[in-house]
């Protein structure tokens, strides 16, 4: 068989670079992203057969045109950013956790359960107690339950990984399905006494406690009765989380240990870092943060369903990698992703087909392919040389 390399007029030799200036590395990444975006534009034009400006315009209309849409878009960015931040410590440690979907869902489930059963308690149905007091009691309960549930979902795979080297990718994945089925079960199950049934019809919950006097407890307040302001708390919380996590990863001893373990487990243990402890600790943190996001979702939306996370646990992994684990980069990546996912829905083509979330995911993974592919040109150098004369 003829070697493909011989068909080229020159020979390529690959050598590892010993180092590359940071600005040069970012030039390469920038070029890769630019090419990827151009390719995405070309694909969109081919599929929609529409003017790219019109496409962008309708995407923009769908996400930023009026105040209500701006709030929702910001909220969606916050949630995606939050989950991306939550998965980052584990990924930086090269722990292949794809269980964010389940960790967020189980957190949301725990928060919703608190809200639900509180609504059946006499204290929360007492009209003499003010709404503020009820919420001040309920919010901490929801928060602790959500964080605890998420942390448990993160702890289990880490524990088995550190003890017996159980494959964490599949472990976390199965935990996703388990969380999913638990939520589906609670919604569909008809065996509880009437007042403890989660949903009236067994398919969707609707607003939790909507049939009870305690309606409205456990959901975030609207500020000044303006619609959309219930999203303010999640947005602010994730904003704070971004800063804290940035500092944690960059400046704390824990953050340093995480990056050493990620670079090489052997180096870490030679340096006296207890690798297993770091793995378990980081995964508990990761799961707990996911649980926190679950709480924020339930608090803002006041309901629960099996698709409340809607695949964002997986997209968050892309966001985290695209930004090279940099929290500031993640803000922009999640903004771009949310813009593409929810803007795409507004792009309706003449023949009745419209773009959707799947289309946005497709484009996003193309961008990611370019980003992970371009690392090659950062780590390796290509030398070209003419073919030496054949000796025969």
């Amino acid at each position: 068989m003829k070697k493909i390399g011989n068909l080229l007029p020159f020979e390529i030799h690959i050598a590892k670079r010993s180092g590359i200036p940071t600005w040069k590395a970012w030039m390469i990444r920038g070029a890769a992203i630019l090419i990827a975006l151009l390719l995405c534009a070309v694909i969109t034009i081919i599929i929609t057969k529409m003017n790219p400006v019109t496409v962008l315009e309708s995407m923009f209309n769908g996400t930023f045109s009026v105040a209500r849409k701006r709030w929702i878009t910001l909220y969606r960015v916050a949630i995606l950013l939050g989950i991306s931040l939550a998965v980052t410590p584990a990924f930086k440690m090269r722990f292949w956790n794809i269980g964010a979907e389940g960790q967020v869902l189980i957190g949301a489930f725990a928060a919703a359960a608190c809200m639900f059963y509180a609504g059946r308690m006499p204290f929360f149905n007492d009209p003499t107690v003010s709404m503020t007091v009820k919420n001040l009691v309920l919010f901490p309960c929801m928060l602790i339950a959500a964080i605890g549930a998420g942390a448990l979902w993160g702890f289990l795979p880490a524990f088995f990984k550190s003890r017996w080297n159980t494959n964490e990718t599949l472990f976390t994945l199965m935990m996703n399905y388990i969380a999913l089925q638990i939520v589906k079960f609670m919604i569909a199950f008809r065996g509880f006494p009437e007042r403890y049934l989660w949903s009236a019809n067994g398919t969707s919950v609707g607003n939790i406690n909507s049939g009870f006097q305690s309606f409205g407890i456990g959901t975030f307040p609207k500020f000044g009765d303006k619609p959309g302001t219930q999203y303010l708390i999640p947005i602010a919380a994730v904003g704070l989380l971004t800063v804290v996590l940035f500092l944690y990863l960059r400046f704390s001893k824990h953050g340093y240990e995480i990056s050493v373990v990620g670079e090489s487990e052997r180096t870490a243990s030679y340096a006296g870092i207890k690798v297993n402890r770091v793995i378990v600790r980081t995964m508990i943190l990761s799961g707990a943060l996911c649980g926190l996001i679950g709480f924020l979702i339930v608090g803002a939306e006041g309901t629960i369903s099996h698709d409340v996370v809607d695949g964002r646990g997986y997209t968050a992994v892309m966001v985290s990698w695209m930004s090279q684990f940099n929290p500031i980069g993640m803000v922009f990546s999640s903004l771009l992703l949310v813009f593409m996912q929810f803007g795409a829905k507004e792009v309706a083509m003449p023949d009745g087909v419209s773009l959707d979330k799947n289309f946005a995911n497709m484009l996003m993974s193309i961008i990611l392919f370019f980003i992970i592919g371009c690392e090659f040109f950062i780590n390796y150098k290509l030398h070209y040389s003419r073919h030496p004369k054949k000796e025969e």
Partner: protein
């Protein structure tokens, strides 16, 4: 009891075959040292390529003029090409550009799922532009050439053949042994004169095509040729779990796949009250978890994964 088993077992076998295709493909891939987490995406793309091919053929010539050979060959070829291209993308990124295999695989899954669901959704909307609430397309005529309904058809049974062939190939042929050498220690294989890059490429590409057939098998036989947001990703992930469960042995995977196929359809067959059904659906995942833990507890040398699994190979780095 007997009547229950008589109806249950053929369906368990049928449901197990996509899993078997997926796990056989992944075993072949992993034996070359490539950990391809893109299998769910590849199965998705294989399925939608086959379905689109069949759909276009069926609607362009009409049911009466369809020839049996083309009705089988078109979906089959489309499926193979689709999954081949996905495998090529994975190989180029991980082998040639030495990208991280985990991330490449994960994004390949997201990519494949996105492509398949978008194309499938668009096909549905194009055919039912007026009708609302219709959320599926059917290739009823093509399916007749694949299976008769509730018993496994020829594509399903071929899965067993492919698994057996793969097992024999890995164990008894020279090429199979060289492939395993590449997966265990590429540097040694390289020194022995084996072309590591070529082996990695070929094994991964063939593995992807086998997995892609699993996607086609799922749509054509398990779903009776109906496409409405199928849960192929779930099948793909379970297939990857099966690889660990069977400790990289395609022959054992035949029985394991049928067992998992049975677990997958248990909830439909026992017909439990609403709600409890969701707990039955939980069983395959819990079993997988227990199996994962159990396998990691037993540390026998022959049960370990290929030693270089997940690592990129660069000749000058030793």
């Amino acid at each position: 009891m007997w009547s229950f088993l008589a109806s249950f077992i053929p369906r368990a076998v049928l449901q197990g075959m996509p899993l078997l295709y997926g796990s056989t493909g992944e075993i072949l891939t992993e034996k070359s040292g490539n950990l391809n987490l893109g299998i769910p995406g590849i199965m998705f793309v294989g399925a939608i390529s086959g379905v689109s091919g069949a759909f276009i053929y069926e609607h362009s010539v009409g049911a009466a003029n369809m020839s049996g050979v083309l009705a089988i060959l078109i979906p089959l070829l489309c499926c193979l090409i689709g999954s081949f291209l996905m495998g090529l993308l994975y190989c180029f990124l991980t082998v040639t550009l030495r990208a991280n295999q985990n991330v490449t695989g994960l994004s390949l899954t997201i990519f494949g799922t996105g492509v398949a669901q978008f194309l499938g959704g668009s096909l549905i909307k194009l055919t039912h532009a007026q009708a609302t609430g219709v959320a599926s397309i059917t290739i009823a005529e093509t399916v007749k050439y694949f299976s008769d309904g509730n018993t496994p058809g020829w594509l399903a049974y071929s899965g067993i053949g492919i698994a057996l062939l793969t097992a024999l190939f890995l164990r008894f042929t020279r090429k199979g042994m060289q492939l395993r050498a590449v997966g265990e220690n590429p540097a040694t294989a390289d020194a022995a004169g084996i072309n590591v890059t070529r082996y990695k490429y070929v094994a991964t590409l063939v593995g992807s095509m086998i997995a892609g057939l699993g996607g086609l098998c799922f749509v054509m036989e398990c779903a009776h040729g109906t496409w409405s947001e199928p849960r192929i990703d779930q099948i793909g992930w379970l297939a990857i779990a099966l690889v660990i469960f069977t400790t990289w042995r395609p022959a054992i995977s035949i029985f394991a796949s049928i067992m998992f196929g049975g677990l997958l359809i248990l909830s439909e067959h026992l017909n439990p009250p609403i709600g409890i059904k969701e707990l039955y659906t939980l069983i395959p995942y819990v079993v997988t978890l227990i199996v994962l833990i159990f396998v990691s507890l037993r540390k026998k040398r022959e049960n370990l994964p290929p030693q270089s699994l997940g690592l990129a190979y660069f000749r000058e780095e030793r």
